[in-house]
């Protein structure tokens, strides 16, 4: 059976200096193509019946489009992270099955029948909801990105991990169905809370880590969702089944999974996940706290280290993702020379607030080395900074919130590498 050239063969071929004539490019043929002139088995026999796969998985040729983890990052794989294969995806919606995971005490199994959500604290009436109750409130649908605060965190000190999946893959983007948190808080009654300006909600999960976080009431009443569906179906177990919090534009840690309790309070709890973790240490040793919003950011997903150019010079699609927690992406610029000159890319669709936006630069590659960069702008006017600009303000130890411009070195062979440039 015919098969495309493997990447190893491609790289070997490139290393040996052979011409890049890998499959797919239409060109003058001397001999007829047997894939056309010979009857292929799929054009003659049967494919699978409709009862073969009640719930299907991707075709086996795509078996490298999977989550990956980096063992040395964490002490074990229970309180750990894995990465979305953004180098191989297109568009904006992340397939749930390969959307990244971050747990602090593992992905728990919580049945709808065992699910309870409690609202307590400064409310008129503390309430308990079952899963079925939640499905009876009016629903909304929204597409939002969930980006881990630590996405790109390993890159603060320099270029470390060689691939967009590892440098930028702590992110997914889904269409959520859920109930506004405002609706649920109002069901419990907020008269007891008084002026919402100085009030907070504390949210926690049903898992052992609990992942408790404090959220100011303004945000809670604005656009936070108590979500039970993603991309049309129930949440995956690892993404909080049956109910998670969706906190548009804000760091992924606050998107509490398996959410079991929401307490209205007159101050923040200052829990472990907002003191020891998710605080950002500056060069002078003091630390920012409550750095909730994820700032405008972008990355070229192809070409990239895991997605080299397979086809030699000529037409090339440079493709990537841009997003901002402070609004919608207004524009993305792309540089091929490490930031000396920039061209404005094409947005596949107008940017949506706090959601991934796909950009393309359709270009003609001359086969020369490139230093590819992308630079996002959001509708507040904010321009994605360089790592040098970020380091000037923050130093090297802030761990979280690295939204710096990424550089890929693309060699004449089409291979790409994660680099930093002056």
């Amino acid at each position: 059976m015919s098969k495309g050239p493997s990447r190893r063969n491609f790289l070997r071929g490139a290393a040996a200096g052979t011409a890049l004539i890998a499959g797919g490019a239409a060109r003058a043929a001397n001999t007829p193509d047997p894939l056309i002139t010979e009857v292929q088995p799929w054009a003659s026999g049967f494919g699978d019946p409709v009862d073969a796969h009640p719930y299907g998985l991707p075709i086996r040729f795509e078996d490298d489009v999977i989550r990956r983890n980096v063992e040395w990052l964490t002490a074990d794989t229970i309180s750990s992270i894995n990465f979305t294969p953004i180098h191989a995806l297109d568009g904006t919606i992340t397939p749930q099955g390969c959307a990244f995971e971050r747990h602090h005490s593992g992905a728990i199994e919580l049945a709808k029948s065992d699910y309870r959500l409690m609202i307590n604290g400064l409310v008129d009436r503390p309430l308990v909801f079952t899963y079925e109750d939640l499905e009876r409130f009016p629903r909304e649908n929204h597409v939002y990105f969930c980006e881990c605060a630590a996405n790109s965190g390993m890159e603060w000190a320099g270029a470390q991990l060689n691939g967009a999946q590892f440098t930028h893959g702590m992110i997914h983007n889904m269409e959520y169905t859920g109930v506004p948190l405002r609706t649920i808080l109002e069901e419990a009654g907020l008269d007891a809370a008084g002026d919402p300006k100085d009030k907070w909600v504390f949210v926690e999960g049903a898992d052992a880590s609990s992942n408790g976080r404090s959220i100011p009431m303004d945000k809670a009443l604005d656009d936070v969702l108590v979500a039970f569906k993603a991309n049309g179906e129930a949440l995956r177990k690892e993404h909080g089944y049956p109910v998670r919090l969706v906190v548009p534009g804000w760091e992924g840690n606050m998107w509490v999974k398996w959410i079991r309790r929401i307490e209205v309070m007159d101050g923040p709890v200052e829990s472990r996940e907002e003191t020891s973790k998710y605080t950002d240490t500056m060069a002078d040793g003091t630390s920012r706290k409550w750095t909730w919003a994820m700032d405008a950011k972008s990355v070229i997903t192809s070409p990239s280290p895991q997605s080299p150019i397979p086809h030699g010079k000529g037409p090339l699609v440079i493709s990537g993702l841009a997003w901002s927690g402070n609004g919608a992406i207004a524009r993305v610029d792309v540089s091929k020379d490490g930031g000396k000159t920039w061209e404005t890319a094409r947005l596949a669709k107008p940017g949506e607030k706090m959601a991934l936006t796909r950009f393309y630069l359709d270009t003609d590659w001359d086969g020369e080395e490139m230093l590819l960069q992308s630079r996002a702008m959001d509708d507040t006017g904010y321009i994605q900074p360089t790592k040098t600009q970020l380091r000037e303000v923050r130093g090297l130890n802030s761990i979280y919130h690295n939204n710096a411009i990424q550089t890929w070195l693309v060699r004449a062979s089409g291979e790409a590498e994660n680099v930093e440039v002056s």
């Binding site: 309430l127 020891s276 920012r288």
Partner: protein, 199 residues
Amino acid sequence: GAAHAEGFGLGREALPEEIAAWNLDIRPGGIGLPEGSGDVWTGEEVFVEKCAACHGDFAEGLGNWPKLAGGEGTLDHEDPVKTVGSYWPYLSTTWDYVNRSMPYGNAQSLTPDEVYAIVAYILYSNYLVEDDFVLSDETFADFEMPNADGFFVDDRPETEYAQWSSGEPCMENCKENVEITMRATILDVTPDTGSDEEA
């Protein structure tokens, strides 16, 4: 929903026992603490039995597991050591987190007195109390952590957004030279993704 003046009449009232079972958060100053107490020596016994396999006999951390003690004065160093003693601003967080989420893999198995004792021992391991120290719900609020003033609220709007929202960005002749200063392949710590294996 006759039960609600407004709203949908969904859900039912939470009972006091239910709220007590789940509402465990402890706030700065010790708000929410249950009655109880524990001393350093009891804490050492409990710690060695239930915590030391990962965090070390002296809370110094084994292998990749978190260090709970040490690192004082390192926050402005190249590799800061951020522990309960060197970094955490509130003692309430230690009590709350140990009580709700530790030991790792067997959370919510400690009694309040055990948590008081463990927290007392962690303070002792950080040289913040003497070995006769007793921590209780009554003395809790008196304790101030060394890095209590080490945190400030997100100031990105002033320090970053203001300077990086400066109108039209540079499009041409933005730099004279571009040099590669770091390369990920030299470090070579990326897992083999297997994408170049023969399928």
